[in-house]
């Protein structure tokens, strides 16, 4: 059954579902975009995401759009391993040629993937960084986890990454807590890229930054995605972020994917009523 050619995608998500609480087929039937809720009236379980499938190729960025509570962050956390998953499968091309469902791997093997396979950039830098540690030290964490034991080499790599993400090198030995929001986000990007992972998941990477800083960080992210040929999943409720970073995107509503389209098509001609509402709200 093993395909002889390696797959074109780097990340493949197939039928991913996450339900908080017990669930039956009934719970799935009674929730979703058509029903206008993600809460099963019978059991009170929340169907946070259901039947989510997509593929991402190298150098490609996929957007996941939707309002708060639509399940987009849940999808990201399930792929990252921050959250257990109810059903579905996730494959990485770099793991067993894309033939192993990483959701079936042990918790410790999943964490190993976070060292050099899947990087995550969180909306809140405090989630991705240790604020008590210096910028260099935060980058040293994934480097030492990957087995690097040379102090000079760690310093060198950290300064390379920080200069690439436009963090002034004279701040390298300052604790991250003393940094501004934009600069913390740049350190988070540097840390994410430390071991050159093929996949990066970005969860609202510029939400919470003011407009001019956000624009700078977005520019940087776009440059990094191109330069490193990363397969990226960008979760955002902000169409300007999606428009700038992604070529394709999926729209989520009440835990379901309601539309999947090229980003510019979606913005010009949204099909699903919910997408139309979302786009018109963003455009007005």
């Amino acid at each position: 059954m093993n395909p002889i050619t390696t797959p074109e995608w780097v990340l493949k998500v197939d039928g991913l579902g996450k339900v908080f609480g017990p669930f039956t087929d009934e719970s799935i039937a009674k929730t979703g975009s058509d029903r206008g809720t993600s809460k099963d009236p019978a059991t009170g379980s929340i169907v946070a995401a259901w039947d989510v499938s997509f593929e991402v190729a190298a150098g490609e960025a996929l957007g996941v759009v939707g309002e708060s509570g639509s399940g987009k962050s849940t999808v990201m956390r399930c792929i990252a391993g921050d959250q257990s998953t109810s059903v579905g499968s996730v494959y990485l091309r770099t793991i067993d040629g894309g033939n192993t469902n990483i959701l079936h791997m042990s918790a410790s093997a999943r964490r190993q993937l976070r060292i050099d396979q899947i990087a995550v950039v969180y909306q809140d830098p405090a989630e991705g960084l240790d604020l008590r540690v210096t910028a260099g030290g935060n980058i040293a964490a994934p480097l030492t986890a990957a087995g690097l034991r040379n102090f000079g080499a760690i310093r060198h790599r950290a300064s390379e990454l920080l200069s690439r993400t436009e963090v002034p090198l004279n701040r390298m030995d300052d604790v991250v807590r003393s940094f501004s929001g934009g600069m913390r986000q740049r350190v988070q990007l540097a840390k994410a890229l430390a071991n050159r992972p093929p996949i990066v998941l970005l969860d609202e990477p510029t939400t919470g930054l003011d407009a001019s800083v956000a624009a700078g960080v977005l520019d940087l992210i776009r440059g990094l995605l191109e330069e490193f040929g990363l397969a990226a999943v960008v979760v955002s409720h902000d169409f300007s972020v999606i428009e700038m970073l992604t070529t394709r995107c999926i729209v989520m509503n009440h835990g379901r994917v309601v539309e999947s389209a090229l980003t510019d098509q979606l913005l010009e001609d949204p099909h699903h009523p919910y997408s139309q509402k979302l786009v018109s709200a963003a455009r007005s």
Binding site: R111, T134, P142, R149, F151, D173
Partner: protein
């Protein structure tokens, strides 16, 4: 004065004929020995144990004492030191307790002993295959400084995920130019578990590496026992390009025995003087010179 005190003690204690050998009841000893066996089988792994109430307060060597009482037999000879000093108050008390509850002989010479219980030092010489070194441990968790969540600590040890420890060494070097951790330096045992080397000075760390003797670490307050079996690799965590260094003061010699090849401690004063931390070694060295 000594006679009076011991008489007084004898009277206070009264009839001791029903006190078991080595103080602890057999079930307690068995539990401690089981923990020790596990600890020896998995070098560096912290084995939980019951930790009985002892006649010394927790944090005053109760863990080391329980390990000693768990392994001691009627043919053993005991040496107890506190920071290298056989006459330290803590050492004297523990030794008296061990000797009085077992009837075994005591010594100050490591080579003549079979069990050495110690607080914060390893004797300079004399330990060989027939010895058991028992170390009193205040904080057995080497990662305590970098992580507080117990579940997370258990996970980090289970997965040998010590990157936080490395980050703390990195931070130390960046902030201070050198790695400042002096006592209790974290070491990797048998390429697997990181241990807290009690607070023994760096000077003693190389003695643990591939040592001929068995080292048992007992933490009474924290209820953990761990071990470094004989001939086991003990490697201080250091970066490839930052060599591990032991304490050294150039030109310092012991004012008693003139040694410069033992671990010296400074005696505060207008003019600083240095003296061997290991008092027994110092005396023998001095005797040799005379």
């Amino acid at each position: 004065m000594t006679t009076l005190l011991s008489q007084l003690l004898d009277e206070t204690v009264g009839d001791t004929s029903d006190v078991p050998f080595a103080l602890l009841d057999e079930y307690s000893k068995r539990e401690i020995r089981r923990a020790i066996l596990t600890a020896v089988a998995v070098p560096g792994y912290q084995v939980p144990f019951g930790s009985r109430e002892m006649p010394v307060a927790r944090g005053w060597g109760s863990g080391g004492l329980q390990v000693t009482l768990g392994v001691v037999g009627p043919l053993d000879t005991i040496k107890v030191i506190d920071q290298g000093d056989d006459q330290g108050v803590n050492a004297v008390n523990l030794r008296r307790l061990i000797v009085s509850s077992t009837g075994i002989p005591e010594t100050t010479v490591a080579a003549e002993s079979t069990i050495v219980q110690t607080r914060h030092r390893i004797p300079e010489d004399g330990l060989d295959t027939e010895h058991i070194l028992v170390l009193q441990v205040p904080v057995p968790e080497p990662l305590r400084g970098v992580e507080r969540d117990m579940r997370e600590l258990a996970r980090m040890h289970a997965e040998a995920d010590y990157s936080k420890m490395w980050v703390s060494l990195y931070e130390d070097k960046v902030r201070n130019g050198v790695i400042t951790q002096s006592t209790g330096y974290p070491c990797l045992v048998n390429n697997r578990y990181v241990i807290a080397t009690t607070p023994i000075p760096r000077w003693d760390i190389p003695k643990l590496d591939n040592a001929p003797f068995l080292s048992l670490f007992g933490a009474g307050r924290e209820k953990r026992i761990y071990a470094v079996p004989p001939h086991t690799k003990v490697e201080p965590l250091t970066f490839d390009d930052v060599p591990f260094e032991v304490e050294q003061t150039s030109g310092a010699t012991c004012f008693r025995c003139t040694s410069s090849s033992s671990f010296l401690v400074e005696i505060p004063g207008a003019v600083s003087r240095w003296v061997c931390s290991d008092t027994d070694w110092c005396e023998r060295h001095e005797g040799g010179l005379k």
